[in-house]
């Protein structure tokens, strides 16, 4: 089943075309890497997929809902995490989960159950009463991810989730992503670490508002005769 379907998505700001006829789809339970140079149009497209911005034209369906008329339904079915917008530093771990669970309208009993389950999975159950600001960055990123899936969304958007994270935590983070995808939650992720692109089932690469490549990492490397995704990226971006 397709969880995201995009056909000929165009987004213009005045005369500037930020997204120029994007067409792609994402399968349920897939880890999809959304790559591109700075200014290629990734953020614009992500905002549309999250129901925060309307396309100029084209068809965009997310979790079965239309981004023109059903953005409130979309927002209930997605999770979002970025490096920048994270959790509240002066609340405890537990309070952060309660707050975001409440925002998603989950019943109190369900929030408690999910919080216990997610903290247990991270091995951070014993830390629930600590103030978030006092925790190491790597823990905060893992907690932010758990909060983004507290309402069991169909799809979770991760915008550079591992930027600046130490190399061991960065790898642990990807293991959590794998587990999440195995449980059926689709993962849509952007990153500047090209080794992480290899962990995705499929990746697309944007340049100047267009998707110029979309395939599995193995097929892209074969097509561009490259040893790794970084080489593919450089070959595309320099053309």
């Amino acid at each position: 089943m397709k969880i995201i379907e995009v056909e000929n998505l165009v987004k213009k700001f005045g005369s500037f075309v930020a997204n120029d006829h994007l067409t792609f789809s994402v399968d349920e339970g897939e880890i999809y890497g959304f790559l591109g140079a700075n200014g290629a149009g990734k953020t614009t497209a992500m905002k549309i997929l999250c129901g925060l911005s309307s396309p100029t034209s084209g068809k965009v369906m997310v979790a079965g809902y239309d981004v023109y008329h059903q953005t409130e339904m979309i927002k209930k079915r997605i999770g979002y995490m970025s490096q920048r917008f994270s959790l509240f530093e002066d609340l405890t771990v537990w309070e952060n989960f309660q707050f975001f669970g409440g925002i998603y309208g989950l019943p109190a009993a369900k929030i408690r159950e999910r919080t216990t389950e997610l903290l247990g999975r991270l091995g951070l159950g014993g830390e629930k009463n600590r103030i978030l600001g006092s925790l190491p960055l790597g823990w905060k990123q893992k907690l932010a991810f758990s909060v983004a899936i507290i309402h069991n969304p169909s799809i979770v958007f991760l915008d550079e989730p591992t930027g600046g994270v130490d190399p061991i935590t960065r790898r642990q983070f990807w293991e959590i992503i794998y587990e999440t995808a195995n449980q059926g939650i689709t993962v849509f992720v952007t990153t500047h670490y090209m080794d992480e692109a290899e962990y995705c089932r499929r990746v697309s690469i944007m340049a100047d508002g267009k998707i110029v490549a979309l395939d599995t990492p193995a097929n892209l490397k074969a097509k561009y005769n490259a040893a790794n995704i970084e080489e593919v990226f450089l070959k595309i971006a320099r053309n």
Partner: protein
């Protein structure tokens, strides 16, 4: 080191409340060196750079830059420093050219007087000189910020995470600019969370949790890794990771793109034994090759060693 010292740091410690941002950090950086501080967010890089640039006093310890004490001689020091902070801090509502002229003016010079030093970088954004800085793309902002940090011809250039959040292509271009700039003899100190950028530096300090784990040339750090390292690939990377962690000879197993980097508890284990184990676990298309460690391998090795020493 035979060459003259540009930056000397002795036992620098800095605490914020009960958090230790820098813990007894000492190092020497030579004149004309391209020196990198490599470490994740929260390692203490920005605190250290604020001390180098005299914007923050160390809690204890002493630091000199070109012979100037960073606390006592800060007025003299600031004249010979160029500093590019981690956050874009030029004037968004001034044009490209106005920003450059403003920063030159603060140091009582003109863009024309030192044009040679910035030409390579500034010429790339000169076609947009009438555009407001706030309207530039990320890569162009970065070039303007570097031009402004250089326009008074500093002896020491301090760049705090210039490539964070920058795409792979722009990162490569930025380091190419630094390599050319290095030829002018200026001392360049740069920080980055990207381990692969270490190879661009003459020497690097690997920094984590306020401590320097190692200072050396990138080659020497790689040579000191101390383990045989294997890159392993099969058709199912995720299952491979789990299986390798169960392997009785495994010391560490970390994913690196489509490969798993594996170190073993004994050097006498043959690749054939790894291969036989993986075949028995049902893996197909098994590729095993011995590789040289990257800086990232070394960083993780040191992180693991440091935390296990702490726990003991």
């Amino acid at each position: 080191m035979s060459s003259a010292i540009s930056i000397h740091a002795a036992n620098i410690t800095k605490r914020y409340g009960d958090k230790t941002a820098l813990d007894d950090v000492s190092f020497d950086i030579s004149k004309g060196e391209l020196f990198g501080f490599i470490g994740p967010d929260g390692a203490g890089k920005t605190t250290l750079f604020r001390i180098i640039t005299s914007l923050l006093k160390p809690g204890s310890g002493a630091m000199t830059v070109e012979g100037f004490d960073t606390v006592k001689d800060y007025i003299k020091l600031r004249k010979i420093l160029g500093y590019m902070p981690g956050r874009f801090s030029l004037y968004q509502d001034l044009t490209v050219e106005e920003n450059l002229r403003f920063f030159a003016g603060i140091f009582k010079t003109t863009p024309e007087a030192n044009y040679d030093l910035v030409k390579d970088i500034y010429s790339q954004i000169e076609p947009f000189k009438d555009r407001k800085a706030g309207k530039l793309s990320g890569g162009m902002k970065q070039k303007l910020a570097l031009s402004c940090a250089l326009i008074h011809k500093p002896e020491v250039l301090v760049l705090d995470e210039p490539t964070t959040g920058v795409d792979a292509v722009s990162r490569i271009e930025f380091w190419e600019m630094l390599s050319r700039l290095r030829l002018s003899g200026i001392t360049i100190v740069v920080s980055t969370p990207y381990m692969d950028e270490a190879s661009r530096c003459d020497r690097v300090a690997l920094i984590q949790s306020g401590k320097i784990m190692s200072i050396d040339t990138p080659e020497a750090i790689r040579n000191n890794y101390g383990q045989d390292l294997w890159a392993i690939k099969t058709d199912d990377t995720y299952r491979l990771l789990g299986d390798l962690r169960q392997f009785k000879y495994t010391r560490t197993a970390f994913p690196f793109g489509e490969h798993i980097h594996l170190s073993l508890i004994s050097k006498s284990v043959k690749p054939a034994e790894i291969s036989a184990y993986l075949e028995a676990a049902g893996h197909i298309n098994i590729h095993i090759s011995k590789i040289e460690p990257s800086i990232e391998d070394c960083f993780m090795e040191m992180m693991s060693t440091e935390s296990s020493t702490r726990e003991k």
